[in-house]
Amino acid sequence: MFSEWAWLIPALPAVSVLIITFTGRALPRRGAEVGLVAMAAALVLSLVVAWEVFSHNAGITQAIGPAGEAQAAPGGAEAFLLERGLTLTPLGGDLTVELGMRVDGLTAMMFLLVSAVSLMVHVYSVGYLRDDPRFTYFFALLSLFSFSMLLLVIASDLLVLLVGWELVGICSFLLIGFWWEDKHNQDASIKAFLTTKLGDVGLIIGVVALAGMFGTFSIQGVLDGIAAGGFEQGLLTFALLAMVLGAVGKSAQFPLHTWLPDAMAGPTPVSALIHAATMVTAGVFLVARLFPAYQAAPAAQATLAVIGAITLVMAGLLALVQTDLKKVLAYSTVSQLGYMVAALSFSYVAGIFHLFTHGFFKALLFLGAGSVIHAAHSNHMTDMGGLRRVMPVTFWTFLAGSLALIAIPPLAGFWSKDEILVAAFEAGGYTGGLVLVLGLLGGLITAFYMTRALYLVFAGEFRGHGHPHESEPAMTAPLVALAVPAVAIGWINLPFPAVQPLSFSSWVMFDVDYWVANPIELNAAIAALATALALAGVLGARAIYREAPERDPVHHLGLLSHVLERRYYLDDLYTDLIARTAVRDRLAPAAVWFSDRVLDGAVYWSGRGTAALGRVLYDTGDQRGIDGAINGLGASALWSGARMRLAQSGNVQLYAGALFIGVFVLAVVFATGA
């Protein structure tokens, strides 16, 4: 029973953090090897635990037989769930905080994803940051980040989950602001942290509300409470909506996504680790963790779908017009997260499967981008081009990743994105339809901007200065290693009934009845439509960028008419009408304007607004108002003292008169009193 040792997985990076911080500098490889060893061990342990969990689940589903025939689970066997924990502290009354682990299909999957990608990033960073003065500090942070992500995944108690959640936030703040010398990085890191922290407010309110309703912080307690019913529906919706705000903040969904592109200011391995595979998926993981709760609150699920749909389209459009390669990938991540969030409002497996596959090929794309940037010494695609011949390994792995992202059939992206569209189609209703339509449109846009990126970077002549060369093995090895899952990972969840019992959906199922109730099937029509749109996107972009990748038409909007005429012989009406005019020239700039001016402006001005409010409150309210009152009190004492002084006029007889008046009054009092 290896899953008993599952708590070792987060413990390993924690130990490595301590070792690196205290003895890092003295070590031969300045701390890097400690991080590597820890993550490798964690990966091995995750594989073992995953194997155990998945085989347990697969065993049950196999016994049931192919999904769809609704049979009772044999002997009432339950999906794999292991809960261990020790009471961290009593909080008063009967409330306690449990430091424990909750291992089930979802946790095992996340273990695999996080430790694999983290290991790749560790290996990659050894090469990428070789000559950086704060090399050891970087690896300490990487280990700390991995620890907090794994803690988030394994937590059995909402408070411990919140601890991991905020720790991940702080690590992203420190990692994004790794080169804190120049102001741009500082602003980016603070913006990232504050926007996610704004989301965290929602999460704190959600956690507190759920715990308040069910009297316990433990996840199992909350889920049992929901299963038992007898709670106020409105309050549950409020709590889950608050948590959605938290997820939106962390996973950079629609309103709070403005921090992600700026977060590219950090080193590329940071972007790969944090903004591709792990941190941003925390929001999606949170929703998946409390999926039964969301099932009980349809309103919350509807919001999830709407937010996801809007994000995937809007982010896709933004990716279209970016010149910075990492920004393109960042927006693409936001878009794919939109898919996952939308998927989770319909089907548990669809959302998670896409999260799993996306983690691998997006990390691959980021690392590939890192290697290209490292070679061309610039982020901007305008200074790249023609790298296909010079950097073959990077090219082929980047191509594989892109095709997977575009969801070309055999590759991973197709299977996972297709699930989402099928789930949306089956759910039907407004939200289902919205997600389906926008999902298909998103697929097109994704294909378009990825192909544009491919051409701008790898086709044509090299536009930058200096002469790029293939990156060193330490950087290319992870690329190849990640390319394999990018291509093959899709096949673990083929939507055919025969193979379902053994496939991914059974591995990560949290409840056998749920798995039986909504099986994964293939919907040929949607699959074909999605692939067609994807191919159209690719062809459209190829048509535009094949001849003159350096003259990126997106920048010379003025030349639009001239370029269009020369392409008139392109007979594919679809690419002209939709791809070039509507999508690229109208919607994209609008999206950019809306995102950068309106939303980013809102975030910026809210920051400055609060600062100004603070200043006004402090200057008037505090200093003049309350402090003024207190000082006024002191001053009034002085003033009245001065007035009283004048009574001593020196006129002795006046004093005597006052004396007699006193006598008079006393006499009256005694006389009347008696």
Binding site: G92, E166, Q186, L198, I205, V208, G212, L617, I626
Partner: protein, 512 residues
């Protein structure tokens, strides 16, 4: 014998130390430092012994221990009644720890009029006052220690302070005195209305038995509230804090923020709530509202600060807001969160003031503009310590700040039944949401401060000035605090375990 006299010895040992120091001839002034260090260390060890005794020994962490009751003023039945229980123990030990660390810190760091003899004897006198307040179980004794604390702090600010020290010192003294006058009136009223005694335990039983009429309770609570609110400080009565902190010497600020503020909140838990339960229920929403205002107000004001110490002073207003929110809920969870918040704030803000004090000493100025950023470059270790403590202060999870705040918010979500019956449930939930928003504002101003102070490249003049990084003495003074911050954060049971039984015992009157 040790059982009865333990507290008295520990409380009055610093006083003896102070007297000892004054005897040192002027010529050998420097000798005062090792003596003070020795005395404060001995006192700290004694307090640890009491902690161990309380926990491992007979009382086993339940009820009052180390009780000693000697008639002091028989005619008004005011007795020298000292005891200790779960609520006052953590604060008691924290006060000794902070004083010991301050004694270490003053070895090399003493503001300009110097005169270590006077300073250290005042500090030890202050310690006696503070420790006494936490163990006093008699209203008169409590009030004596409460006032005793003002005098040394007044002189510390007044003599060793910054440019506007007289104003700040007088304001601090008079403001607190103004508040405590009302409190004294309330105490006397309690004496006459209650069973004719000043003993807190007896009054608590009387309060629980409902001997005090409601209107009387309202007035008495108002009096005590005014006295304590000024000390906490709660929102409208806070204007003395920024002045006192900016002008106080580093050690003064540490003790002021570390312990003195807690005497106010401790007063609520020990005196106001148990003795006047019905009034507590009626005042709870008001206290809750003021607390949340303090959280938001403090955070907003911090955004507008240009002076480093003033910024931290306002942050204390915000943090104490969370503590008061916890108390306002009148539930064991809330009060536990409040006490934890007190300990967390004491350690973290104490450390914050130490760090800022050292930075002020090196940069000779508190203004953020003068520092001009780049502390991580000029003094890497100091920058790292400041960043760590600032992040701890904004409530990063594994560190204690987080537990204090989130548990207080949880308590605010479902307050005591008495409050729910009075129809304040949704009101407290709104408070909870506003409090949660406060956390993001807190994060905002701390990061804003960090960006301006630690990040970026230091201006040329400071780069060449080769400022000395954290010295051995400073590490000595700070490492216990840093270690405790991490320890209590990771293992909150260290504090919750001690306070939980005592709190539920005290709050029985409120039917919590």
């Amino acid at each position: 014998m040790w059982e009865a006299s333990a507290l008295t010895i520990t409380v009055f040992l610093p006083l003896v130390g102070a007297a000892l120091i004054t005897l040192i001839p002027k010529a050998k002034e420097e000798a005062a430092k090792p003596v003070a260090l020795g005395v404060s260390l001995l006192a700290f060890l004694l307090s640890l012994a009491i902690l161990a005794g309380y926990y491992l020994g007979p009382p086993g962490g339940e009820g009052l221990a180390y009780q000693l009751r000697v008639d002091w003023i028989p005619v008004i039945d005011a007795s020298y009644h000292v005891a200790i229980d779960g609520i006052s123990l953590p604060l008691f030990v924290l006060s000794y720890l902070l004083t010991f660390l301050c004694a270490v810190y003053t070895f090399h760091h003493l503001e300009e009029p110097g005169r270590p003899k006077a300073f250290l004897s005042l500090m030890l006198l202050l310690q006696t006052g503070m420790a006494g307040t936490f163990v006093a179980f008699d209203l008169v004794l409590f009030f004596v220690f409460w006032e005793l604390v003002l005098v040394p702090m007044y002189f510390m600010i007044g003599i060793w302070g910054g440019p506007r020290r007289e104003y700040a010192a007088v304001k601090f003294f008079l403001y607190t005195l103004f508040g405590s006058v009302f409190m004294l009136v309330a105490f006397i009223a309690l004496y006459f209305a209650g069973p004719g005694t000043f003993d807190i335990v007896a009054l608590q039983q009387a309060g629980a038995a409902g001997e005090f009429g409601l209107t009387f309770q309202r007035l008495a609570f108002l009096g005590i509230f005014l006295g304590l609110a000024v000390k906490v400080p709660m929102w409208p009565f806070h204007t003395w804090l920024p002045d006192a902190h900016t002008e106080a010497p580093t050690v003064g600020s540490v003790l002021l923020a570390g312990i003195l503020l807690k005497m106010g909140t401790y007063g609520f838990v020990r005196i106001a709530l148990p003795i006047l339960p019905d009034a507590a229920v009626e005042y709870a929403p008001i206290i809750g509202a003021l607390a949340v205002i303090a959280i938001l107000y403090g955070a907003l004001c911090c955004l507008a600060q240009t002076d480093l110490k003033r910024l931290i002073a306002f942050s204390s207003v915000g943090h104490m807001g969370f503590v008061m929110l916890g108390i306002a809920t009148l539930t064991p969870v809330g009060v536990n969160a409040a006490i934890f918040g007190m300990i967390a704030h004491g350690i973290i803000t104490g450390m914050l003031f130490f760090a800022v004090g050292s930075i002020k000493e090196r940069y000779h100025s508190r203004a953020i503009a003068d520092i001009g950023g780049g502390v991580l470059q000029t003094m890497p270790r100091m920058g790292a310590v400041l960043t760590f403590v600032a992040i701890a202060s904004l409530g990063l999870p594994p560190l204690p700040g987080f537990w204090g705040e989130v548990v207080a918010l949880y308590a605010a979500f479902n307050p005591a039944e008495a409050l729910v019956d009075a129809g304040f449930l949704t009101f407290f939930r709104v408070l909870m949401v506003l409090g949660a928003i406060g956390t993001v504002l807190t994060a905002g101003y701390f990061l804003n401060m960090l960006q301006k102070v630690t990040m970026g490249t230091a201006p040329a003049r400071w780069r060449e000035a080769d400022l000395s990084d954290v010295s051995a003495i400073e590490w000595g003074a700070w490492s216990p605090l840093l270690v405790m911050t991490v320890a209590i954060g990771l293992v909150p049971v260290l504090v919750f375990g001690i306070t939980d039984p005592a709190v539920s015992a005290v709050l029985t009157a409120l039917g919590a």
